[in-house]
Symmetry: C2
Subunit: 327 residues, 2 copies
Amino acid sequence: MTFQLTILGTSAALPYKNRFLSGQILNVHDELFLIDCGEAAQFRFQHLGIKHSRLNHIFISHLHGDHCFGIFGLLTSIAMMGREADMHIYAPEGLETMIEAVFKATNYKSPFKIHFYILKTDKNDKNTEGPPSDYSRIFEDEKMTVHSFPMNHRVPTCGFIFKEKPFPKNIIPEKIKQYNLTFDNIKAVKEGFDLKFKEPTMEGKIIPNSELTKPPLLPRSFAYCSDTTYFEPILPHIEGVDLLYHEATFLDDMKEHAFKVGHSTALEAGLMAQKAHAQKLIIGHFSARYDDLSPLLLEAQTQFPNTILGIDGQIYDVPLVRFEENK
Amino acid sequence: MTFQLTILGTSAALPYKNRFLSGQILNVHDELFLIDCGEAAQFRFQHLGIKHSRLNHIFISHLHGDHCFGIFGLLTSIAMMGREADMHIYAPEGLETMIEAVFKATNYKSPFKIHFYILKTDKNDKNTEGPPSDYSRIFEDEKMTVHSFPMNHRVPTCGFIFKEKPFPKNIIPEKIKQYNLTFDNIKAVKEGFDLKFKEPTMEGKIIPNSELTKPPLLPRSFAYCSDTTYFEPILPHIEGVDLLYHEATFLDDMKEHAFKVGHSTALEAGLMAQKAHAQKLIIGHFSARYDDLSPLLLEAQTQFPNTILGIDGQIYDVPLVRFEENK
């Protein structure tokens, strides 16, 4: 069961040498979720052999060109490659109007239906405060949820958290034989119920669930936070996240400038990961002023040692290794 | 005096491996002219070290995404890099509206002024018939002219011809000494006048211009014809062109399909170069169905031997070597 992040680009504002613009693919159980779509995203799909047929959901954090100018080419190109399935796009208000204007000017009609969902980007809307809630949920299926949360940038901007749903409990194989469990018994135990016998010999006897099961695997999660200043209100949304991508546009010696232009420093990204009790931090969205990125990495690591550099085209697996505490 | 073409991309519709989308830079005496601006054009500027500060004019052949979706990123990125000078954009109707919609949605205001010029794309407008005329001229300065002409594609589309202005005549150095020519004499002779003496000893004597000068260098020209079916009405516009870029999306075994979708075959591109009496043909705008392009080259060469393949990132110089016939 895959839970894997591929980074299409890590450059802020302008492309820089081999650093492309913002875009990430999260693969959850072989379904793809595109997060941001900077110019040349369709080229990155091709470079990295990513199959658009498995992509049905696109999440746009905010309407700055380096995060969304790839959407026109991506949508029209996948149509040319034969796409017919609906596409779902989640973005701040304005994206639909923009795409419609571009399609109209280019005399283009999408052969597949595009569903637009407007994100709640208002930082002053108390209902958007964390932790993730029904109010902040923007997507759900049988395997996962996606929630959005407002961040602090120059224009309305959202972060996203992608979470697997809880896994069923693991039944201890020996117990199946010991109690001669039926299919229905096993199903009920996996769902967390105690075992209640109805047979005459065992009538009324109860084996507690904790004796029959091992703790389930912990569902995995990924949070995307770009672009934003250091902004603590997002902490409840991303608490305990397995993999946190947080922008680190500048070094901390440019902290004031970073804040002024709605961005974070590498130190602040590390601090955010620390306070969110993340398992791992990937930093990205690097200013073109930094050719060598190692100072950004070292700076973030002063706050959060398990930080790695976002690298264009690299793939980061979130392994399924942690178990829940048994309750 | 440079007259040099750089091809940013040669792929039709979709990017293919190392083939980027349509875009070319014509360098005329160190001023740059961008022709078409497919997605990722700004990346190509960077890859190829092209200085945007020398770019003041952008020509868009038609409003299909693979020819214009790079314009948003290019305009916003050069602004971030400090551009303040006006930009002039020549395109079929609709581009300005599209750019305005994108800028509005992304809350963007260009720090430099953009002047839009609407091309005459109507194939039935008799005034657009060639050869190049005042009616078809879209740009002129002291060194060159640009004319546009309607082509035959699925949407309104123009081709372009870029021409140097005639060079002054070359005076034969020995004649300066022989006739003791003044600065004013030399200037007049270079402009084509005969030499008339006013000195008492030579009073009234006339030396014809042809005795004093060598034929001037022939001004160079480049024509861009993409996208279009095989379309003979463009011939008078491109007659005798030095370098012709003509699209060759398909091989001739797909001639019917090519026509249906508004494109040419390699054979037709070659035929067009032959009938236009071009000096050299570059073919491009290749369908992603062709991995190996040599069959397209060979096919065009059956009609026009001096054909070369357009290759992404390559630079083609038009040398200043031909002389006009002396008149």
